[in-house]
Symmetry: C2
Subunit: 401 residues, 2 copies
Amino acid sequence: MDSPVRQHSLREHNLALVLRRVATNPRPLSRADVAAATGLTRATVSTLVDDLVAGGLLAELEPVPRAGVGRPATGLALSPHGPCGLGLEINVDYLAACVTDLSGTVRHQIVRHVDQRDRPAGDALAAVAELAAEAADVAAAEGLPVAGAALAVPGLVRQNPHGGGHVHVAPNLGWRDVPVPAALGALTLRVENEANLAALGELQAGEQDPDVSPSFIYVSGEVGIGAGIVLDGQLYRGAHGWSGEFGHLTIDANGPRCHCGARGCLEQYAGQDAILRAAGVAGEDAVPAGLERIQRLAQAADPAMLAALGAAGAALGIALAGAVNLLDVDAVVLGGSYAPLAPWLRAAVEEELTTRVITAGWSPAEVRASALGPEATVVGAAGSVVRDVLAHPAAWLATLS
Amino acid sequence: MDSPVRQHSLREHNLALVLRRVATNPRPLSRADVAAATGLTRATVSTLVDDLVAGGLLAELEPVPRAGVGRPATGLALSPHGPCGLGLEINVDYLAACVTDLSGTVRHQIVRHVDQRDRPAGDALAAVAELAAEAADVAAAEGLPVAGAALAVPGLVRQNPHGGGHVHVAPNLGWRDVPVPAALGALTLRVENEANLAALGELQAGEQDPDVSPSFIYVSGEVGIGAGIVLDGQLYRGAHGWSGEFGHLTIDANGPRCHCGARGCLEQYAGQDAILRAAGVAGEDAVPAGLERIQRLAQAADPAMLAALGAAGAALGIALAGAVNLLDVDAVVLGGSYAPLAPWLRAAVEEELTTRVITAGWSPAEVRASALGPEATVVGAAGSVVRDVLAHPAAWLATLS
DNA sequence: CGCCGTTTGTATAGTGGTTGAACTTATTAA
DNA sequence: TTAATAAGTTCAACCACTATACAAACGGCG
């Protein structure tokens, strides 16, 4: 932030400005449109667009015959052959990889169902590297250069500045102090918390107007409960990258003991295990287990399960109300396994938000289910790579020459 | 954010860059020092500094005989005759005003003890305008041009973009839907929540290294409990400016009813009235009342009061632990009336933070008492005006010509 | 069918801000 | 007195933008 600004930075900024305009607009824009929207002159936009087209980020479309009089405009859109992002995910019972292009479209996706709990961390990392290589091959076959990779891990992660990092602890994977390499082959690899990347996925899916900066909390209810916090259109990572440890907000100071050592953590009320326990179906070796079990029973209107979900929703609502009071966000997104359960959780969550959020009367926070559902994480991971390219096109162009 | 960047913006940025360097450095810097620190060339720094000196923001000091060889450097420092900020505060039992110069030094301060609870909002605003005029006269007498004014109100405020705003509700003042004018005479007036401005004051007081961006939560325990959130060195205001409604975080979902309509809000455990009640001295017409009463009893080691403060600290700690889990901040600042009570609160707060914050083992959040104490709010208000000038010197220079 | 008006996109000169190198100034060390 | 050193200034060059003029590609109209 404390860097001087030279002529060059100016160009970098304006390249990004033009690219973002085209990227966030649902329909193709002409150079003249971009000029009008950004406030730059048509001449400047032309030279900027030339660079972006030469760098393979933008593509010129066939000039469509325009409605009114005058010379028809050549449409500009994100290049379908531009750099793509590689998203990777390690989770409790599966590994996943996906490739998204510049527009955020998923071009390829692989999910491998493998239980990670009994495996050493090294094996999981090796397996995900294999998956990544597979995905990279697909990208290469489609002629997409890969800009980088992002790996989602359900745990506390310290990111290194130039890729790689360190997983301090991932309780549900049984990981502790696992180093993550800075690169997969030639690709730099960013590690990040699962919920953060899912929140980014949600942000991208919801982005319409380039002038609006949404603020929301994405709650990811997997086996643990995490949250990704988006403030003014930006993912907030925290001072050490450990923001969003939502599962251990206190619901009742004297509540049941949590594995973290404290008492009455949210996870003890709204975690998957807690819901099953509250519904009286824990410990049974019934198939299906976990989320699916909950969903089946809820769909069958099992009274115990409906009550359990109501209680979980209330606890979730109390925690979310605290977060909204603190952060004044517009919306709360129920993600991860909460997304399919949203129909049964929403009422309780909304009730708590209404009574406990002090500003609810003026501008109530919206409660919505994640648009992407459980795929939000991998897609968000891949999207985060693409997002970086779109935000700093000059850096990408520099790698080409 | 979506504005194009012309040559002019470049200069604006670099003017701010140079000014910030000089402002945040404890000792005078030479042009050459600034060039080395910022990465700009000496030539560029020279022209920038010329503008800043001409605009009355920087002053050249007498060239001190330097230690080593070479031409002695002319020191640069913030001008003592530069623009100053006017801070105003309306609180339950007093009005305050203060004037701070560019360096943040308080040049003048007035406190008027008047109970606001029985007065109409208009009267309080008129009285504070009078105070502001008085302070502005003092500034004029000292030859300080006033850059603007900021008014702190203990309530929910909507800011208008160009000054003024609307107080939706300020429960402890008995205000509801009170409009605040956009200007006091010729001065634009910004309205803001009390805790936010106090947090800014704390931020300024703690600023040493220009390359470090602190993140902390400032808890202001006045009659109500508010919080100011500073993330990466920036005050976070929220989507509508309503962040930091700390007093209504839930401590116990089935706890005592709060005047906000919910149950078990933090204010019912750690508010001034709650502490007095818990110590068994509420309702008595003893003198002194309120904070002073609490302080006296605590100093006298009254067992009931010590227990009450311990309980309040624990509740505060639970709420703060939630905030730290969510936001991953470095520090928690006990401000407002919590500052003088910090000796009796700290242990309980720290205990809860240690057990309930999941990352406490890796990087525990620091708990500290506010450096400025109860003056943080007015001083922060005045400082926020100065801060704007320092952050956007070009805007100030433009007003001169 | 040809001309005009309209809009898009490009070319060219001009402007503002930064760089880099040379130069001046002020001081210490020898 | 001279050499070395560092601070600050001057000036040509450069780069990215703006403004203006112009070429290109279309519809509308007589």
